[in-house]
């Protein structure tokens, strides 16, 4: 892939999120020898999700480093390397196992810039898979985005399609402090999870581009109800909006795109227009991203709401293994449709 020519005669490429994110990583690694990738199975296997395929061959074993199953160790290594001037990329295939790294992330990677009075930066990017819906049970299906978002000093981006996956990866890799690029496994474009959700694949420009932190994206405009989501729930919301349209309801689909910082202006602008809001999130509901969205409305102007808001999220249970039970617990288009209709009753 290193030898690819820059031009395709103008034909647009439709890429998966995995490939688009990888393209950004390769482009930045070619420019900056301080960037290296570290994690489990990133070199020989090319990443559990194929994010680093071919990189070890191109950049060598000193820049694409396989580790043992030792998240505590390699995140500590990466944090220290970042403080010393390197720009590490750390892959954690499943966010479920991030708990063992919390000290390095929360107390060092996220806080050193602040605690050193700006003398040290920690230019580190974590590349993390999250989410369920494919019967992988409670320890391989979590989102834990609300957990990470709770701690100051971490930028968290959650692209919902290949275009944003590439742009946000460039933004993360050029940022001088801790960034976390998180993709829901079901939209990443992984063959073993079945064919890709078509709306997550997108036309991706050959050239490099960045997407600013804290800028939401309106995927579909509407006037009756705002459906707020990020990652996979954007795709559930798009399906829900189609179903609602068939019933004469005009739904606007707002993708938060970056969780920290959150585009609170975009939330208020959309909800002020529609007067009704459903917030969809596959993460746990309690003290989560859905609550933060609604707190924004409550603090800024609750009078814009014509009806109580509705949240569609994991009802605070471990993600079940059984398919019918998992389907019951996680958000989908039909649950969002029902929630939207509930807001329209008052």
């Amino acid at each position: 892939m290193a030898q690819q020519a820059p031009s395709t005669g103008g034909s647009a490429r439709t890429l998966t999120m995995a490939r688009a994110g990888r393209e950004a990583v390769i482009a930045e690694m070619r420019k900056d020898p301080n960037i290296f990738v570290i994690g489990e199975d990133v070199a020989k296997l090319g990443g559990v999700f194929g994010t680093t395929v071919g990189m070890a061959e191109e950049f060598g074993a000193h820049r694409v480093i396989d580790t043992p199953i030792s998240e505590t160790g390699f995140i500590g290594i990466a944090t220290g390397a970042a403080m010393a001037g390197m720009r590490p990329i750390v892959e954690i295939a499943f966010v479920d196992f991030i708990g063992v790294c919390f000290n390095a992330i929360f107390n060092f990677a996220a806080k050193t810039h602040y605690m050193s009075g700006g003398q040290f930066k920690v230019p580190m990017t974590m590349m993390i898979g999250y989410g369920g819906g494919y019967n992988d049970a409670a320890q391989h299906s979590q989102c834990l985005i609300g957990t990470l978002a709770h701690v100051p000093g971490i930028r968290i981006v959650t692209p919902a399609d290949a275009h944003d996956a590439k742009g946000l990866m460039h933004s993360c890799l050029r940022d001088d402090n801790l960034t976390i690029w998180m993709v829901h496994k079901a939209i990443w474009g992984l063959g073993w999870l079945g064919t890709a959700i078509k709306t997550a694949m997108a036309t991706v420009p050959e050239e490099e581009y960045t997407i600013p932190f804290g800028k939401a994206r309106i995927w579909r405009e509407g006037t009756d109800v705002t459906l707020v989501g990020y990652g996979i729930t954007v795709h559930h919301a798009l399906q829900a909006a189609e179903k609602l349209a068939a019933d004469g309801v005009s739904a606007e689909v707002l993708d938060l795109r970056t969780i920290v910082p959150m585009d609170r202006e975009a939330i208020m602008k959309s909800v002020t227009k529609t007067g009704r809001v459903v917030v969809a999130d596959e993460d746990y509901m309690n003290c989560g991203v859905t609550a933060e969205v609604l707190a924004t409305i409550a603090e800024r102007n609750p009078r814009v709401l014509k009806a109580p808001a509705v949240r569609v999220a994991n009802p605070d249970i471990p993600v079940p293994f059984s398919r019918p039970m998992e389907n019951f617990a996680l958000p989908d288009a039909d649950k969002i449709v029902a929630a939207a209709k509930a807001t329209l009753k008052s």
Binding site: M1, Q3, Q4, A5, S7, T8, G9, G10, S11, A12, R13, T14, L15, T16, R19, G50, G189, L190, G191, W192, T195, A196, M201
Partner: protein, 78 residues
């Protein structure tokens, strides 16, 4: 006209594969050596590059089951 054929050495077994995605639309201009399609075989994701430059015709759309040797598209030089 050059066929895009699933290479005999793309994977080791005699398992069937499936076309995961086409990178370009039917009728697009593609360049030799560039990725045109992704295949999935036994959970592994494999790449297929364009055997020539020209206009792409897709014969087997995404989600089609294929075997090694299957012709999945062709390229007409322009």
């Amino acid at each position: 006209m050059i066929d895009i054929t699933v290479p005999e050495d793309l994977w080791d077994t005699e398992d069937e594969g499936v076309i995961f995605s086409w990178v370009y639309a039917d009728g697009a201009l593609v360049q030799q050596g560039r990725l045109v399609a992704e295949l999935t075989v036994e959970k592994a994701q494999l790449e297929l590059n364009a055997p020539a430059s020209g206009r792409l015709t897709i014969l087997a759309p995404a989600e089609t089951v294929v075997r090694k040797g299957t012709v999945i598209g062709r390229i007409d030089p322009v």
